[in-house]
């Protein structure tokens, strides 16, 4: 009965799988090493992971070259889709991961890093995200998403504090619900079009001229809810501050970058064709969502007393800001998304790392939480360099030129203007002003208040080691001197986005 499978190995284009396979193999390697000799020092795993990611990065550079020459590549039964978006987002994913992993080499001992499983899971997670962005098949998106998410839940929980478990459970449960939404949404699309590949769905819908617009909208609603969760759009954002607070600072920073870019890519693939086909409803909803997310997150961030929670809300707001790119849907806006996110990763990882190096093992009595504002008062007197760097990150987040995020911000606002969204551009601009307040609040505490009595400044870098300092240094340099590379980045990003047809 069965017809013989007759596929040439060349047509599978297995090369497309290489960037994902590298971290998977790496993860297995780490587990195997542990199998042979356990109780290894964490530095081994860190460096190993770094190496693997480095190799992955090189592989990405290679496929970038291929893309630049040949354009979009499909592979593995046309499930894999390596276009500019996939490559750019993978660069961000792998790059941010490379910045993240050395943060495990803290001065104090945090036991999650002594488990090789942590690193293995981490690498699996990266592979998951990579899959997610380099396909337009909803099944693979789903699989990648869940692989990554499940690994992430575990990573959060491994921090082994009460709050981490709480955070992991919250994230997990809501994630499960989001998974349900995603599958339901996919199901409706499948029912409507008989396909789960985005380009085919688009083609079928266009062919019948959006007859069943009502059902299309239902599908969109569920997918929107699911990605709204991942991207922490209001009102699906509720997990974000809690999860960030519960997880280790660098992981929180990581979470504010990598999962989101993956989700952005999928959202871009999914929603843009709908917007371009004139689904006004989606446009309106996205508009409302973007504005709500930006504004409300900012407003909530105003009233926070903990820096990490504030940063959590701030990253929600930034995500909302970037989400505008998908609404605008021009080449410029999509390029702006990547530019913004690359610059954002430096600054945001940097600021979370600053929290990380000031992390104490146990909470002192006078502090409400790990990183309350009070903790930083008078920091400039006791730790001037650290305070200055932290201040720089805050200024960058607030969008003060010439620091990194400013360039992303103007390009994004400009894309809104070019796209004809004048009011949106104004709202985006004014939100930066609101956001200025809470970033400034930290600066006020650091630079303008007097230090607490028993604080000798050591606390701000109690966790610091050379690798951590290096990472912060890289982030700081990236933040300050962004203006030198913005042009190259912009040209590169625009080329890739444009050639992918977005």
């Amino acid at each position: 009965m069965l017809a013989p499978v007759n596929v040439s190995i060349e047509s599978l284009n297995l090369m497309t799988l290489v960037p994902m396979l590298i971290p998977i193999i790496g993860a297995l390697l780490i587990i195997i090493i542990d199998l042979f000799k356990s109780e290894q020092d964490k530095s081994l795993y860190v460096m190993l992971s770094l190496l693997i990611l480095g190799v992955d990065f090189v592989a990405l550079v290679d496929s970038a070259g291929v893309f630049a020459n040949n354009g979009t590549i499909m592979g593995v039964f046309d499930v894999m889709l390596i276009d500019g978006l996939a490559i750019l987002s993978q660069f961000i994913i792998v790059g941010a991961s490379m910045l993240f992993i050395p943060l495990a080499l803290t001065h104090k001992r945090f036991h999650e890093f002594s488990y090789p499983e942590f690193f293995a899971l981490f690498l699996f997670m990266i592979a998951g995200f990579q899959f997610m962005v380099s396909t337009d098949n909803l099944i693979l998106v789903f699989v990648g998403l869940e692989t990554a998410s499940l690994a992430l839940y575990t990573l959060i929980a491994m921090h082994n504090r009460d709050k981490s478990f709480e955070a992991a459970i919250k994230y997990f449960t809501m994630g499960a619900l989001a998974a349900g939404f995603f599958s339901f949404g996919s199901m409706v699309f499948y029912a409507l079009t008989g396909s789960v590949e985005i380009n085919k769905i688009a083609a079928v819908l266009a062919a019948n001229n959006y007859e069943d617009i009502g059902f299309v909208l239902i599908a969109v609603v569920f997918l929107l809810a699911s990605f709204g969760f991942k991207l922490s759009m209001v009102p699906f954002h509720t997990w974000t501050p809690d999860v960030y607070e519960g997880s280790a600072a660098p992981l929180a920073g990581y979470m504010s970058i990598v999962p989101k870019i993956a989700a952005f890519i999928v959202a871009m693939r999914l929603f843009e064709f709908l917007i371009h086909s004139g689904v006004v409803w989606l446009e309106v909803i996205l508009y409302i969502g973007v504005v709500m997310t930006m504004t409300m997150a900012n407003v909530w961030a105003l009233v926070q007393t903990d820096v990490k929670r504030m940063l959590a809300y701030s990253s929600i707001s930034h995500a909302g800001f970037v989400m505008a790119a998908i609404l605008i849907g021009t080449t410029q806006s999509n390029s702006a998304l990547f530019l913004y996110w690359i610059l954002f990763s430096f600054t945001n990882l940097g600021s979370f790392s600053m929290l990380w190096i000031s992390r104490q093992k146990n909470l002192p009595a006078h502090q409400q939480s790990d990183h309350s504002y009070d903790k930083f008062s008078g920091m400039v007197k006791t730790a001037p360099v650290a305070a200055t760097i932290m201040g720089l990150f805050m200024l960058s987040l607030a969008g003060i030129p010439p620091f990194a995020l400013f360039w992303g911000k103007i390009y994004m606002i400009s894309s809104a203007i070019t796209g004809g969204y004048t009011v949106l551009a104004l709202i985006m601009a004014l939100n930066s002003a609101i956001a200025g307040y809470y970033y400034l609040k930290l600066i006020v505490y650091m630079f303008m208040k007097d230090p607490l009595t028993e604080n000798n400044g050591h606390v701000y870098s109690s966790n610091a080691t050379l690798p951590l300092r290096t990472i912060i240094g890289i982030a700081a340099i990236g933040t300050i001197f962004a203006f030198i590379v913005v042009n190259q980045l912009l040209e590169f990003v625009t080329l890739f986005v444009y050639n992918s047809g977005y």
Binding site: K381, P401, I410, I413, I417, A429, A433, L440, F447, E491
Partner: protein, 517 residues
């Protein structure tokens, strides 16, 4: 070196600031003075090298920054900006030189050097984004100065200052991006270069919208009524040096930007909004002068008087003729010198008595005669007495605006009355009468260090009042260029009528581009 003098002027203080971190705390003051003096010397050299017969930009430099998006580092000076740059260098110098004993003086001096970079940067930038960059960046050092060395409400004041200005300038940023977009539509290329923008002629309605967007940024900085309320707080709480720099230089950014951006970019809109803005300016003049009269705190009096004077500057700017604009630029410098000096003077008495409430003083004229004399001279300059620096600016500004409206000038002219009222009554409260407070009986008169700042300011105040030609000539030349450009660019009948035809061929390309949209 002259080819890069502007970049050197901009970045030298910043570089020195970074190196300053290494300098020992005890020597930092000398270091600061040395750096600021070198900078001032460079600024003076710039002046000598400056050719006052050229109306366009000089010493231009261009470095690509983000060419893909049309952002370039372009700097240059003309008569409009030259003297404000020199003023900035000058005030930083005497500001650092006259610093008293303060906590964390090292941080303060380094911050001042960074502030100097941003100040000079704003005035020499010829690319909108670079301009914006320095414009925003200037908030940061000022925030720190107010917030770390200020009075009891310093944090509220500094945050208010920052956020208010920040919010305004973000609207301006949107305007800039729009402008660049229109340029892109007209030419197919992104550019934020001001000189490119000058060539673009926009339809009137676009001009109006963009004018409003820019207006928010500039008006808050100036600050214009009703956006002025951050200023009394900032001045009231800032340390002396902060107030001096804020009043002397930072406020000028707004008015300078009106002349640099709003007028030549949107001539028709400038004409369209001339009356509303003039009305605001007049409210500023009269209203804030009255509020100043009600103050109990001498520093607040000076702060509100700044707003009042800025009203005259705005009025001169929107006279839209050579006399008015020249006058307003001159008044910027004049107001910088005079209000800077007044804040220094307030600082002198604050250092001695740690209060600024006027009722705490009285009869100081007999205790501190030198102080009273210098204060008196500055007071008279502030009131706009002829042969002082302020008069030239005020006279020309009002003279210029008279061409546009008789009644409004008459109203604005009440500046010279209301100004006299609050200033004289403040002076009377502080210096005249018997010494009523025992603490005041033995106050030392101004010391050498303070005179170091005050004497040069006094000399400038009178010198430029008697012989303003040195400044007026280059300013006039550049302003003629601007007015010509505006006249050529304007499209409405009204604007052609309101903006005089100076009739000097500037060789500018004013061919209408393809119309946007």
């Amino acid at each position: 070196m002259l080819d890069h003098i502007l970049s050197i002027l901009v970045f030298f203080p910043a570089l020195a600031g970074i190196l300053g971190f290494v300098v020992n705390k005890n020597s930092i003051r000398s270091y600061g003075v040395a750096v600021a003096t070198i900078e001032f010397g460079l600024a003076i050299w710039l002046w000598f090298a400056f050719d006052s017969n050229v109306s366009g930009m000089q010493f231009m430099e261009q470095i690509a920054l983000v060419p893909a998006f049309g952002i370039n580092y372009i700097v240059g000076v003309d008569g409009v900006s030259l003297f404000i740059v020199i003023l900035a260098a000058f005030f930083t110098m005497i500001g650092i030189a006259s610093l008293g004993e303060m906590k964390d003086i090292k941080n303060l001096i380094i911050t001042l050097l960074f502030l100097q970079m941003t100040m000079v940067g704003v005035f020499v930038a010829l690319d909108a984004i670079v301009f914006y960059l320095f414009w925003e960046l200037s908030l940061v050092p000022m925030l720190y100065i107010i917030g770390a060395w200020g009075g009891p409400l310093r944090i509220y004041a500094s945050v208010k200052f920052f956020l208010y200005t920040f919010a305004g300038s973000l609207v301006m940023l949107v305007g800039m991006l729009f402008m660049a977009y229109f340029y892109y539509q007209a030419t197919g290329e992104w550019s934020f270069a001001l000189l490119d923008w000058y060539r673009l002629i926009l339809p009137e309605s676009f001009q109006n919208w963009l004018f409003v967007a820019f207006f928010f940024g500039f008006a808050i900085k100036v600050p214009m009524f009703p956006f002025h309320t951050w200023l009394p707080y900032a001045h009231g709480q800032a340390p002396t040096i902060g107030s001096v720099i804020l009043a002397a230089i930072l406020l000028k950014m707004g008015t300078y930007a009106f002349i640099r951006f709003s007028l030549p970019l949107f001539p028709d809109a400038s004409v369209y909004f001339m009356y509303p803005i003039a009305v605001l300016a007049i409210i500023m003049i009269i209203y804030t002068a009255m509020v100043a009269y009600a103050q109990k705190d001498i520093k607040q009096v000076v702060a509100y008087s700044s707003v009042s004077h800025m009203g005259v500057i705005i009025l001169g700017t929107f006279a839209l003729n050579v006399e008015g604009i020249t006058g307003s630029i001159f008044l910027m410098i004049a107001h910088g010198v005079v209000s800077g000096a007044l804040f220094f003077l307030v600082g002198v008495i604050y250092d001695r008595r740690h209060t600024k409430i006027m009722s705490e003083f009285g009869g100081l004229a007999s205790v501190m005669p030198r102080y009273a004399t210098i204060f008196g001279i500055m007071l008279m300059a502030s009131v706009g007495l002829p042969l002082t620096i302020n008069f030239i600016g005020e006279f020309l500004s009002l003279l210029g605006f008279y061409k546009q409206s008789h009644i409004l000038t008459l109203l604005a002219g009440t500046a010279i009355i209301v100004g006299a009222i609050y200033m004289l009554s403040a002076y009377k409260k502080m210096f005249f009468g018997e010494v009523t407070h025992e603490e005041n009986r033995n106050l030392p008169d101004v010391n050498k260090k303070e005179l170091l700042a005050l004497i040069p300011l006094t000399i400038i105040t009178i010198w430029l009042g008697v012989y303003p030609k040195v400044l007026l000539e280059p300013i006039n030349k550049s302003v003629e260029g601007i007015v010509t450009l505006m006249h050529e660019k304007s499209i409405t009948q009204e604007a052609k009528l309101r903006i005089p035809n100076v009739n000097k061929d500037m060789g500018l390309i004013t061919k209408p581009e393809r119309e946007a949209h």
